[in-house]
Structures are given as C-alpha cells and as structure tokens.
Amino acid sequence: MEEAAAAAEVVTPGEVLGKASQLRAGRGAYVAPHNNLVYASLTGFRRTLSPPPNSPDQRPIVEVTGHKAHGAVPEPGSVVIARVTRVTARMASADIMCVGPKSVREKFTGSIRQQDVRATEIDKVDMHLSFRPGDIIRAVVLSLGDARAYFLSTAKNELGVVSAESTAGETMVPISWTEMQCPLTGQIEQRKVAKVGG
C-alpha cells in the first residue's frame, strides 16, 4: 500500500473524517450507520492510504494512527519480555518491555503470583529462589488482571528467567532448570530458568 502525503492532522474520537461514500474506515475509524459518515474512534494523526489497485472498492482508506495507544498492548495469551522490579513472598512485579517482537510505547506492569511461577508443586515455591529484582524474564499474559497489573505466568519450560546478573555484577550462565552460575566468582544462584533455543 502506498502512503499518500501525511497531513499530520491530529484528530480526537468523535471527529468527522469524511463521508462513507468517499472514504473507507481503516484502523481507528468507523462508519456510523445512521448518517453514513466516517468518525474517528481513537486519538492520533489522520492518514489517508490509497486503495490497493486490484480491489473492487476504490475508495481511499482513512486511518488514525501514531498515538502511543497504538503501540503494542499485552493481550491474554501473548508472550512478553519483562524486567522484574520487586519480589515479595507471594508475588513478583515486573515491568513489561516487549509484547512478542515489538517493544511497548508506554509502561505496563505485570505481576507473577506464587502459584503461576511453575507447573509443579506450586505451593512450595520460594519467590526469592525464582526471581530477583533486575532479572529479565519471558512470561505469558494470563489475564488483564486488576487495575494495577496484568497477571503473568512462567509455568512452562520455555518461560522464566532469560538473563540475570549475579551479586558480583556479571551476567550469569544457566546450568539447569533452577540454577545459574556467575562466570567470575563461580557462585551458583537459584532462579526459575527459561529453556532458550532448541
């Protein structure tokens, strides 16, 4: 699809973008059935795209994009990369940095509850032996959670700590499902390690 020259006009939800007979509603826009006008449904910049040449409908497509709300948003079931910020006895909080391959544009918080850390023996999980503040983890979004945070889970082999720093400051090397070793001092620390590759 070619992009027509962007007019860089900011629109807000409810603004009229044009007539449905002349424009097609793309992302962030919709057609109101009672008066056949195309309205914006999001805040952002209005862009008009030319239609693909071989489609029967030759109306240009208008879309509203460019606001941070259009960045990646975690959805239940998506795999996210997050950095652990706080660990307590019952849960660990993490800042979500990427959803799938795309990085997010605004801050999302996720929390991993004690019962979602692994699949076996979930009531004997010691949060301190699974995560530490500063670890990078791969997790899957379970649900939208509560008002403060998404609920994440690391209860699969390929989920868990991907990268962590030891107390000496070096990036550690994983040596088993539950242990990572510092290459500088040889000290072994316990984490819930993700199986990467293979």
């Binding site: 706080r86 660990v87 307590t88 006895a89 301190h128 530490r132 503040p133 000496a168 500088l184 001092t185």
Partner: protein, 243 residues
C-alpha cells in the same frame, strides 16, 4: 594500619580491618575450601573486607568480620526483639531496627489457626525469630522455633526494654555466661531477653532491681570480665544501702 598486599592470613586475623583491605590471596592457597562469613567478599582471587571491624578465624576454615554497631542487618536464624507497628490481614508489621519493617505472619504461632489469631496492639514488644532475610525483600519472622514449638518466643509482658549495640547483645548471649550477667544473677533475681538486633528486655519483681540490672548491662560493654564484676558489686552495694 598494615597494608601488605601479599600477606599470610594470620597477620590479619584478630586485627582491625577496614573496607577495602585485601586479607587473603587465593592464588597462594590452592585446594582449600574457605567459608567466608559476614563482612567478607570474593573478588576473583582476592578476599576483601566490606565492613569495618576485627577479622576473626575459626578452625578449620571460617573467616568473618566482627563489628559492633547500632544498626541491625537482618539475618535468617537470629532471635530479635520486635515492636508491633501495624497489623494487616495476613501479617503483623514489626519493627526490628532493620532497614525495613518485617512481616510476622498471623499464623506463625504454636497452634495458630485462623480462629485464634492473637491481637497485638501497636507498641507491643515481641521476642521473635527471623525466618527469611533476603536482600530487597522484607524479612519474615516467626514466633515458633524451627520445629514449630513456642520455645519462649512471643509476647514480653511488663519489664523494661532498652537499646544496645549489636556487639553488646552478642556478648550477653555468649557462652559461658558473660561476667556481668553471672555476677548479677548470683545476688538478684530477674529475667532478661536479649535480641541480636540491639534490644534488651529486663523484668524483675521490683523496679529498683530492674534499674540496677539495666544500668549494669549498659555499662558493661567496654569493661573486661574483672571490671564488670567490680562494677556489679558496687551497684548492688548501693542498692542494698538504699533499700
């Protein structure tokens, strides 16, 4: 202050050390397993000091730095005196003179169930055991010993609590009994609870006994064993003269 870079370990043991001193060089000692206690840190081949104090060594292979300060760093296994600051649904929040408040689970008592949760008011003094003390997380406490029995942990009623340094607490808890407690115990009858976090609680039948015991303990930190006994004698004489 001695500052030999490649020195044998014996020259630093029982000496005062400051952060940054390299006390052991591992490249000279192969095939040995050392145990490093608090205050020491491994930097590849050099063992360096993190806390100011005296370096101590215990056979066969334990090294640690002993120091006395007013601040307490929570360690798992310590018995401490805590003051209840708040109570939440699942935990009491207890101040143990550490960097953050500690959590005492509501069920961490002998025979504790949801039905008989103790009601501690704000300001209650408790003798508790530190279960978990991980860096970055609030310490977790318990009013039972490791096997689940009450074992003297719990509420301390009446009496008088005062603060001390961590070094004095360790001296009071050392065995054989430290001289000041031994001398006081021969003449007076009282009970004490010593917390490794720098808090001591004393209780006796009369207030003058409590005051004499508390003053004797507070004065004894820098005195040798003999001086402690002499000091206790004088205090008890004054007590008998005034009663």
């Amino acid at each position: 202050m001695e500052n030999k870079p490649t020195s044998s370990p014996t020259s630093f043991v029982d000496q005062s050390v400051v952060p940054g001193d390299v006390v052991l060089d591992l490249s000279n000692m192969t095939n040995q397993t050392l145990k490093l206690g608090g205050g020491l840190r491994q930097d590849c081949d050099a063992i360096s000091v993190m806390k100011a104090g005296k370096l101590r060594f215990s056979n066969p292979n334990k090294y640690w730095v002993e120091s006395s300060q007013k601040r307490y760093v929570p360690r798992a296994g310590d018995s401490v005196l805590g003051i209840v600051v708040d109570s939440k649904a699942d935990n009491f929040l207890v101040d143990i003179k550490g960097p953050g408040l500690a959590f005492l689970p509501v069920l961490a008592f002998e025979g504790g169930t949801r039905r008989n949760i103790p009601k501690f008011e704000i300001g209650t003094l408790l003798y508790v055991r530190v279960v978990k003390a991980n860096p970055g997380m609030n310490p977790e406490l318990s009013c039972t010993d490791a096997s689940g029995k009450a074992a003297e942990f719990g509420l301390l009623k009446d009496g008088y609590m005062f603060e001390s340094s961590t070094g004095l607490s360790r001296m009071l808890l050392s065995s054989p009994t430290c001289p000041v407690l031994d001398a006081l115990g021969k003449k007076l009858s009282f009970e004490t609870a010593v917390g490794l976090n720098g808090r001591v609680w004393v209780n006796a039948s009369s207030p003058s006994t409590v005051i004499v015991v508390a003053n004797a303990i507070m004065n004894s930190e820098s005195l040798s064993g003999v001086q402690q006994r002499i000091m206790v004698e004088k205090l008890i004489q004054n007590l008998k003269l005034s009663t």
